[in-house]
Symmetry: C2
């Protein structure tokens, strides 16, 4: 138990980095690739790339922050409702506990004994209902803010890597070539570590992540070409 919980907690930060960087490495790279086939100035690619990174960073970061706040508020309002219900209609709530245990093959006698023991402590009873009836885990109150900052920063760092190629070249085609090399290497390395962290086979995971980036960039390039 303790081990599992520790594992989950330490990986919130890593999860956020993975979320931000997955999109950060892919979308600005593909956008820049798309524009490279349609315009002839690195300046436009860089301007669009930076606008995209800023927009994505704010949308993901602020979006993540508000989603985290909502999760916390939702937990608190459900917690309050569960305390109310346990107070106002204990028999109905006891019946719900029994039904949960019935699903796991516990006999009627066993259900009765369990519910009597559990209902002695209202806090534990409510904790049980929150987790087992509603499937809600108590959220960390700082998670929303930390998550927003981490996801936003990871998106920003991820996005600047493919875009950096356009700073050091003079024509979008050269930029695209260098950007493709940089990003393919970064996607592969990132995919490798991401897979390690999430417990997938690292080499296959790295290939998948790299393929998503390359497919997105290739399709964006072709479609931007067609449009322009």
């Amino acid at each position: 138990m303790t081990h599992t919980e520790k594992h989950l907690k330490s990986s919130d930060f890593i999860t956020d980095i993975v979320i931000g960087m997955s999109d950060g490495l892919t979308v600005p790279f593909a956008l820049a690739a798309g524009l490279s086939g349609a315009v002839s100035s690195n300046k436009i690619v860089i301007t669009a790339g930076i606008a995209e990174i800023v927009a994505g960073c704010i949308a993901m970061g602020l979006g993540g922050y508000l989603a985290g706040r909502t999760e916390l508020e939702h937990y608190q309002s459900e917690l309050k409702r569960e305390y109310d219900e346990v107070e106002r209609m204990p028999d109905k709530e006891k019946q719900e506990v029994k039904e949960i245990f019935a699903e796991y093959g516990i006999s009627a006698d066993g259900q009765e004994q369990l519910v009597e023991e559990m209902s002695k402590d209202k806090n534990k009873w409510v904790d049980f209902m929150m987790k087992f009836e509603l499937g809600l885990e108590k959220p960390n109150p700082n998670r929303a803010r930390n998550s927003a900052l981490t996801i936003g920063m990871a998106y920003c760092v991820g996005g600047m890597l493919p875009l950096s190629a356009y700073f050091f070249t003079t024509h979008p085609y050269q930029g695209l070539l260098l950007s493709s090399v940089i990003t393919t290497v970064c996607l592969f390395v990132f995919g490798f570590f991401k897979s390690k962290v999430t417990g997938q086979p690292p080499f296959m995971g790295a290939l998948k992540v790299t393929m998503i980036g390359i497919i997105a960039a290739a399709v964006a390039f072709l479609i931007a070409r067609l449009v322009s």
Copy 2:
């Protein structure tokens, strides 16, 4: 119990639409706004916008598909491990069940009775460990594919709304003005329904969603202006 599960299942589709459309309405809008302050041709804004939508659509859709596949594989490998453990070291697994119930104030006698009853049926026992020790719900095998399509389509539809303004105008400033009006209305309506679905106060929720979009677009506009 049944009611809650139904509620969660029917909202997978809605959740995916919300995920795709949140970013779809915000990021392409902000990118187009950023470029509007830096370039003088609607064609560039449209090309960049379409490249972004394609890139975002593929990154989110394909990313969502692979994440769903990974979740399914992870569940199946943990399920196999749990069956192995129950077979090879039933006493350790019984101890883990007891520890879970000890947390909810169940007496040693109660724990003993419970674990004896539950361990009679290995499938139920393993189901219990999967859900309450590891916190894993059985994923729907079609979820990955459905999720990818829904998120990708929602992103695409969301992104075309702000971009459509640039088709009907001749200069990026006019495009930006019309796009801001269209997108603000869409963000507000979308935020209202999103909040209804997620059980938040709809008016406040709509304001939050609208503010994220406007802030992202304003910052992207200012930074693109500075860069160019």
